[in-house]
């Protein structure tokens, strides 16, 4: 026990005086989480409430123009502008402004579109009841180009963004067509039958939809935003960068000759390594607490949403401990296998970056291709990130994360075992 405590104290003092090591462990992840959360805040809003600037030209100034504008506003995705530099926008001005990137999209409702809709609806209804087969033909004439609602997009616009605009316009136009036709049918029947109750078709909703909870524990307030992604993601990344000071300390001990001295001494050598593992596991836990504090306080102060962490503190503790042990295991393995600092830094850094990329640290796994998403399941960073997402986003408990935590512990155990076997092999040869 004395050897173990002495090793922890020594490691603590060495780390405390290693400024670059402390920077890698605490400053770098904090900077990463702040910068990445701020940078990715915009892209993440693609999936949530966001207000992209849109130029809206209403030449119709009637029902169609009003309904389209209302539906765009109700989508809460666009900030509608009708003027450019204080001047009411025209189609030409709008297209130019969008092509210059001043607006993400433009929509133009042509003049007289409402009148065109009403007139054609009347004609169609009249044809339906005219009694002449050729007049009642199901063929509906295609509107001329001048009567189309036009939209144009910034070339940088994503596919999902374009689909959203198409959906809003289609929804607006189809509801207007059906309502106008219904009203005209209504009027037609009024000529023959007395109508006792006039129905307001505008507010008529025969069938509808409703969002319900996916599970009893689901918290509708939790939204997957850049903070919810970046804080746990970069926490995992930072934890695995523990390898750098940890493996560095193992290689330095070999270089200094202290390992040799310690091997001559009566204390168990594995106890001394256990001291390193213990200290760096605690460092991993401190990193998590620091990142948690950043997510709860620092990021909201910078205008980002606060991190929501769920309610299962036991599950969080289990995940943090397992992830920390996996990271220290990785560090011990790298430090044992590589004989020079340069080899260790190069291999270790690239490995962590690859594991991070596969593990969904840089981009969420659901954006990845199917093949990459399958491969990502083998990254320890993914196990940790997945467990954090389960707890934070899905209000998961220990039941939901135990498998990922076990995988992390298995990874740690394998790393320690391989390190031990390699150390033994090197001693013999």
């Amino acid at each position: 026990m004395k050897t173990f405590l002495a090793s922890i104290k020594k490691e603590f003092l060495v780390l405390l005086r290693d400024r670059s090591g402390l920077g890698i462990l605490f400053i770098m992840p904090l900077a990463l989480v702040v910068i990445m959360a701020l940078v990715q805040d915009g892209p993440y809003k693609n999936f949530q409430k966001s207000e992209y600037p849109m130029i809206f030209v209403d030449n119709d100034k009637d029902t169609v123009g009003a309904v389209v504008e209302r539906n765009i506003r109700d989508a809460h995705i666009f900030k509608i502008n009708t003027e450019i530099d204080g001047v009411p926008a025209t189609e030409k001005m709008a297209r130019e402004a969008v092509s210059q990137g001043k607006y993400r999209a433009g929509v133009v409702v042509p003049a007289g579109l409402s009148k065109y809709l009403r007139r054609n609806a009347r004609i169609l209804v009249a044809k339906t009841f005219s009694g002449f087969p050729e007049a009642g033909s199901s063929h509906v004439p295609k509107p001329p180009d001048s009567m189309n609602v036009k939209y144009f997009l910034d070339p940088l616009t994503t596919f999902s963004f374009k689909n959203t605009i198409i959906y809003i316009l289609e929804k607006s136009l189809s509801s207007l067509i059906s309502q106008t036709l219904t009203i005209n049918y209504y009027k037609h029947f009024e000529n023959f039958y007395p109508v006792e109750n006039k129905i307001n078709f505008d507010s008529c909703q025969i069938i509808g939809m409703q969002e319900i909870s996916a599970s009893s524990t689901y918290n509708a307030d939790v939204v997957f935003n850049s903070v919810q992604h970046n804080v746990p993601a970069w926490t995992m990344f930072a934890m695995f960068f523990i390898f750098l000071p940890l493996a560095g300390s193992i290689i330095k001990e070999r270089d200094y000759g202290t390992f040799i001295r310690l091997r001559f001494m009566p204390g168990s050598f594995s106890t001394l390594i256990a001291g390193k593992v213990f200290l760096y596991t605690i460092v991993g836990c401190i990193q998590f607490l620091m990142m948690l504090a950043a997510g709860r306080s620092l990021l909201p102060a910078l205008g980002l949403p606060a991190l929501i962490i769920g309610h299962s503190y036991a599950a969080i503790a289990a995940t943090v401990l397992a992830a920390s042990l996996a990271a220290t295991g990785f560090g011990v393995l790298i430090g044992t296998f590589f004989s020079t600092h340069q080899q260790m830094v190069t291999f270790g850094s690239i490995s962590v970056i690859i594991l991070a990329a596969l593990g969904g640290i840089f981009v969420p796994i659901y954006i990845m291709s199917k093949t990459m998403a399958k491969i990502s399941k083998y990254s320890p960073l993914e196990w940790g990130l997945n467990a954090f997402n389960e707890i934070f986003l899905h209000q998961g408990t220990f039941i939901n994360i135990y498998l990922d935590s076990l995988k992390l512990l298995l990874f740690a155990s394998t790393a320690f075992l391989l390190s031990f076997l390699y150390y033994k092999y090197k001693r013999i040869h």
Binding site: T258, F264, H429
Partner: protein, 249 residues
């Protein structure tokens, strides 16, 4: 009065992987209790390898080492407690202070707090490092580092002290302090095995000298006896050159 043997090396050989020739080749000798045994030889003679096997760092490929009558590799754990090591490298933590280094190594030896504090103060005083005890090792001169390196191997008052080139590359003052200290602890009962290629220092310091080359012990005896037993030799350096046919550094 017959002298008591504390270390017995018996037909010891050690090969390194990939080498067809042994680093230590069928070596046998004995070290008496309270002796200062000098193991001299040119670079690559096998001194450090032999020392490493005698300390238990490597297992021999053949032969064995007996310490106090017990086979070293069978009683390694208990025998390590009576052995002190001073490696050739400055095996210290450069960002820790002298005192922090000594506390750490003392704790690994399992020493009590009181004993360790007293021992550290005593070592630092004798090695003239009291004023620097709270300074970091990376601010020390080469000689100061060597002195702390020795202190770290002596904290637990070992019966046997292995020293691998303890005075290499240091100033005269530090060298004198170290040699005086080692003579002092030898007087108090510590047996010393010392490797060096500094012949003049060994001639003055050691009570018994063995000259090693190409993995073998070429000769051994008291320094004066060795000089007398070879023709045309005035000092140990002449003996060394005759036996190893190599110039000294």
């Amino acid at each position: 009065m017959e002298k008591e043997i504390i270390i017995q090396v018996d037909k010891l050989s050690k090969y390194y992987k990939g080498n067809s020739y042994p680093a230590v080749d069928d070596v046998s000798f004995a070290i008496n209790r309270n002796e200062i045994f000098g193991l001299l030889g040119p670079n690559g003679a096998g001194k450090t390898t032999l020392l490493s096997v005698m300390c238990g760092l490597f297992k021999p490929d053949s032969g064995h080492v007996l310490i106090n009558g017990s086979i070293l590799h069978q009683h390694l754990k208990s025998l390590k407690k009576i052995i002190g090591i001073v490696p050739q490298d400055i095996a210290l933590y450069p960002t820790l202070t002298a005192r922090e280094n000594l506390i750490f190594f003392g704790n690994v030896y399992g020493l009590s707090r009181k004993f360790l504090d007293d021992k550290i103060d005593q070592c630092l005083a004798i090695l003239e490092l009291e004023k620097s005890k709270n300074k970091r090792i990376n601010t020390f001169s080469g000689g100061m580092k060597r002195r702390i390196n020795i202190a770290a191997g002596l904290l637990h008052e070992p019966e046997i002290l292995f020293l691998d080139e303890p005075t290499v590359g240091i100033d005269i003052h530090s060298k004198k302090v170290i040699i005086d200290y080692l003579k002092d602890i030898n007087k108090k009962g510590t047996t010393i095995l010392y490797t060096s290629h500094l012949i003049a220092e060994a001639e003055d310091f050691c009570s018994y000298i063995a000259i090693m080359d190409q993995g073998k012990i070429k000769t051994g005896g008291k320094p004066a006896d060795l000089i007398r037993s070879y023709e045309k030799t005035q000092n140990l350096e002449d003996v060394f050159l005759q036996l190893t046919e190599k110039s000294l550094p």
